[in-house]
Symmetry: C2
Subunit: 306 residues, 2 copies
């Protein structure tokens, strides 16, 4: 059985870069013949990053049947491959909360409460004493800058900053903050992109107290970029909710102002009040200081829905 | 909130030694103030090991409410503390299949497909560059010899053997195989122990396809030791099953003959046939070469019950 390394649905740069780097590490340290995969096409940011460092795009894989699987950047069934139980899960490398994936056999897992899966992968290279190539260093560096919103996210730890410093040296990137801004400008570009694609660009479904809840996030360097498309985004969220979800929330995150406007489409918006202590009037609320879905949005919603 | 490090219910030597060593490591590397705990009293083997290396017994803790928790040697809710969700789970260090424990927040996890949690803990000391003390080396050494049945178990890996070699040097144990035999003789002693205590000495409940299934294991240096108590053990298993379980299986493992007699108390013994391809007549079957519940008994039962 071939080994596939794969991140979550709606792959972001961390899911893509971690899958590629873990496959590289497994092949160099254990001759595993691992293949990097993603559950869907690359977003514009990830495409820019792979292009910049001359790395091939991962294979698209959506079903685990009869495959050996290594998961990166998630451990939730809802975010994972179809038919995960019909494959063999042999590893998980992640930086999120522990999800509902289970196995029948022992496996290898490394999860660290850091800002990015690629920071975990950097530790794995170091522990295995495998040299990191220039292209691998480049894409891992970008993943960490992206996931930590250039160190501004509350999920960012000293380990993430140390990893970026070390990876920038290997990749030969003199000014990594400039690279980060270049990357976030590409992420911010919405012109010509259908609203549906924007909603799903970084979207995850969660099971919260038995209710299906979708939470998407768009990060931009200036919220005004999204003004012209906001009505379309809301209409698209309503369609997504109508597919059988209790709620759909879309975070419009301004990484410079350091906060998020959250679009709300829900059977019961009082969960937003319960989770964040804010009054909900109309279709959205401003959440000051909220940059991280993982650390600042999912946990309060999980408590509210429990 | 105080941090407690705790292994599974019915603690064995690995659960006890790993909890003590992880607490030691966390306190030395991160000044965490962690307290080693166990969910019940020590079995005779563990008591012998701690006594031999002058290590204090862990505190008995059964409820996670308002505590920070680090789990060792398991990740199944059925084997864990009461009210795990009312505490905060901050770490898992294990060598089993991934169980159904989940969290709301990111945490640290290291799981390796090796023969013993203490082998994982040895790697953690090395990665953190913390020196292992003589007593910690002694109890970890014994845990690995116990969990791998002195390297005979199919769960044993080269990493376990390497860890034993290194730990024996630190602990000043010249002949670790002699220490292993001494330990297994204590484990084998059943004289005067109530049958109920024997059934629960190394017993775990599993949720298998919605059915509650209990699997116990007694390891002895010669199966004839158990002949006089076999009828009592079977009667005790029937009582345990009557408490609401679909099946109770008790493995009587002969570590010298390298196989197990399995006592069977079940609503439907055909699951044994499904799992092991053996015909069941009467109350027990001989499973040749079966030494490991984790690797050779739980996975086939999980498939059969699925």
């Amino acid at each position: 059985m071939a080994v596939y390394v794969v991140g979550h649905k709606n792959p972001d740069t961390d899911s893509v870069a971690a899958a590629i780097a873990v496959a590289d590490l497994m092949n160099k340290s254990q001759s595993m013949g691992a293949i990097a995969a993603a559950q869907g096409p690359l977003n514009p940011e990830s495409a820019f990053v792979l292009e910049k460092f001359g790395v091939a795009a991962p294979e698209i894989v959506t079903d685990a049947t009869d495959k050996k699987i290594i998961l990166v950047d998630h451990s939730d069934l809802a975010q994972s491959l179809e038919n995960l139980s019909k494959g063999e899960l042999i590893g998980i490398y992640d930086h999120h909360k522990l999800g509902d994936v289970t196995t029948s056999n022992p496996l290898d897992i490394l999860v660290k409460a850091v800002g990015c899966s690629c920071t975990v992968v950097k530790m794995m290279y170091d522990c295995a004493k495998v040299e990191i190539s220039k292209p691998m260093a480049g894409i891992m560096l970008c993943a960490i800058l992206s996931d930590t919103v250039m160190f501004k996210s509350p999920t960012c730890t000293p380990a993430d900053k140390e990893a970026v410093e070390a990876l920038a040296k290997i990749a030969g990137v003199a000014d990594y903050m400039a690279l980060g801004v270049e990357m976030f400008k590409i992420k911010s570009a919405v012109g010509g992109t259908p609203a549906k694609d924007l909603v799903f660009r970084d979207y995850k479904d969660f099971d919260m107290g038995g209710k299906k809840v979708g939470i998407g996030q768009l990060e931009v360097v200036d919220l005004s970029i999204l003004e012209p498309v906001k009505a379309d985004l809301l209409a698209e969220c309503k369609k997504v909710k109508a597919e059988g979800r209790h709620s759909v929330f879309l975070l419009l995150t301004d990484i410079m102002k350091e906060g998020s406007e959250m679009l709300i489409v829900s059977d019961d918006p009082s969960y937003v009040t319960k989770a964040f202590g804010v009054e909900v009037k109309g279709d959205s609320v401003w959440l000051d200081g909220v940059l991280s879905r993982k650390k600042q949005v999912v946990p309060p919603f999980e408590k509210a829905f429990a």
